[in-house]
Subunit: 454 residues, 2 copies
Amino acid sequence: MPIEVLDNELTAQRLSRLNEALGSGMFVHVRDMLHNMAASDIAFILESSPPKTREVLWQLIDQEHTGDILDELGEDLKDQLISQMAPERVARAATGMDTDDLAYILRSLPDTLYNQVLHSMSSQDRARVEKALSYPEDTAGSIMNTDTVTLRPDVNIDVILRYLRIRGELPDATDTLYVVDKRDQLLGGIKITHLLTCNPDTSVRDVMDPDLEGIPVGMSDTEVAQLFERHDWLSAPIIADDGKLLGRVTIDDIVDVIREDAEHSMMGMAGMDDDEDTFGPVLKSTFRRSLWLTINLFAALLAASVSNMFEGTLEQFATIAILMTIVPSMGGVAGNQTLALVIRGIALGHIGQSNSRWLIGKELAIGFLNGLLWSVLVFGAIWLWKGDMALGALIGGAMLINMTVAGLAGASIPLILKKLNIDPALAGGMVLTTVTDVIGLFAFLGLATLFLLN
Amino acid sequence: MPIEVLDNELTAQRLSRLNEALGSGMFVHVRDMLHNMAASDIAFILESSPPKTREVLWQLIDQEHTGDILDELGEDLKDQLISQMAPERVARAATGMDTDDLAYILRSLPDTLYNQVLHSMSSQDRARVEKALSYPEDTAGSIMNTDTVTLRPDVNIDVILRYLRIRGELPDATDTLYVVDKRDQLLGGIKITHLLTCNPDTSVRDVMDPDLEGIPVGMSDTEVAQLFERHDWLSAPIIADDGKLLGRVTIDDIVDVIREDAEHSMMGMAGMDDDEDTFGPVLKSTFRRSLWLTINLFAALLAASVSNMFEGTLEQFATIAILMTIVPSMGGVAGNQTLALVIRGIALGHIGQSNSRWLIGKELAIGFLNGLLWSVLVFGAIWLWKGDMALGALIGGAMLINMTVAGLAGASIPLILKKLNIDPALAGGMVLTTVTDVIGLFAFLGLATLFLLN
């Protein structure tokens, strides 16, 4: 029996064959190809296609696959496709989806479409999804599934085994069955692998792990992901404040959370929305990126106004103008290194009250040491280039000041922003660069004015 | 029965209680506290502690837990702790570890220690780990475990169920049993959940999924992670080129790969090593960050030498010097936005031969549109500030040129670097900033010289 060896090369080949078929207008052929692909592969191809190709492909996709494919798409593209769909089609697509994914999609719909979709759903589906929507975004509740299989503690394992056989297929990614009492209080759990190997004559209570920890429904999804990573869980039960079992979170949703949080840090530091669609429309992207550029323009004008204060110096010494970008540039890079480290530490939960002081001190020390090192090197470089020892000393001194400030600012800005409930990954870079630009220009031009003008 | 509600608050509390006990020198108490903690929690606390606290904690940890704790640590801290351990202790710690994790640790050891550790291991452990070490780093083979449970196709399910009960506990994160023929060729797989619910009188062959795809042992771990994400796998079989089953990869290792790749992109863009330990020693960090600062110094000097070409203009017009940082700054931000988008697209596997041209065109268009928009705004701002329309027009023109170049460079630099087998996440930011600084200064000072000096 031949086993198909999966490979991304294969996806690439498939992509180019699809493109060929599309190019030559063989739409029936394309439809057949799409029909034989997994939803996740179609989603991948949609994500990798320019808008026009996407539109054609979307027309050719089986209606009954719509939900599964939407499930796998990035938020931006998902919103875009849904906004073009008839509410009935969205409702139909919704039927087969996991509760948490469906709630996620509904949350992003405009109000009128949202109500139309809810209206077109069966009352059972509607109840299920309304419950899920009652949990705030980015909490354990919002990524929770309600498809738990629960057992009572006083039943024998052989009864359970017979029950499972009658019940039939278990929900995807089920690795643990939960044990609850009459009031649905979580008592413990039994791993499926354990069910297979334990003595069938014992009771559930004797076999279960009574130390199974329930995750509070209101915990942030990032914290839940940290727990999954630390304990190598595949799934975890979610409980209400009173200990009642509400559902479970599975590792596939956790992987999405980890991916999203990581993308958020990386894209955020560059001033981009992590939802941004790589192959999205030009105009939408242009306007989206404007906010960041607007803020940067103000920062750049602020830096220019610092230079403006030293107009007299710049008038007399063109060399100062030539060299004045070096100090802010080095401070910016050094500060950004610290910033990235601290933002990662915050995201991983490593930085808290007890160690943030130590960390700021450490980064300040690194900034000062780097400042010493680079002030000597730059002093030498400028002395060599311009043959002016005093100029070298000026720029070296400014460098020492700015890199020390950069270390301090890179470590403390994200921590301060976090305290103020402002996302450090988003605002940190811009605030930091403004600080290192202003301090760098001020230090260099100030020292130059002090020592050269008199 | 009380269920302990886990919470990161709890870890924070534990941390501060530990710190208190450490501070008052109650080491026996600390040892007891550590004794009752999970390895993953101890690892988390070590990661979050300054060096001195770490040293004391490490002394107080149970010897038999060492391996489990090392397993959970970041690479930098792991290396540091291992380098201070006696080879015998490393070897003892190695006994209880997963093969892939052990290989990972051994790979990072210096040669003499490496040989000493291998020498102190049992011959069985040594054979197991030498096999794992034969697979290149960052491939499916390097994150593979060999603890697969395999079945023959012609046995009945009830026989399998009896066999499993005799065999006892299954390896962690086992969700699928693999079916192989006499030559260990992978024929298919049976999900554990399916074993529980299927008819026991059927044969393995009838119940198994014959379409189970084996992952080639040489596939890059990043690609494997992409497959896991797309298909929501919990584990996947790894096969040799001839279809022979070699082992399996589990989702916990994939989560580590995703986390590491994401951190690599984020830290790399800021010029940091993704192994960098948040609470590592100052001097080591200082020297590590120097490489990036050295490169940046050359970039900054290059930019200064561009300004130097226009010394005459700068001598005559101090205002030009005051404003000359604005154009490079805006170009840098716009280019970095594009860069982040493209680096993420490459990491997710969305960008390939078939769509990179389209993407470059799109980003060029966004750059041009942004350039138009900002050149008008900056023209207005400078006209207002300096009351000089010509100056506003000059800076606006330079802005249009630089932002268009930024869009083009931000999209094409990472793609070119990838073609040259240079990591775009590491080198992209520096190359891009150099381009936008040089072009920005050249455009603004060049236009100013052309129109103002004559």
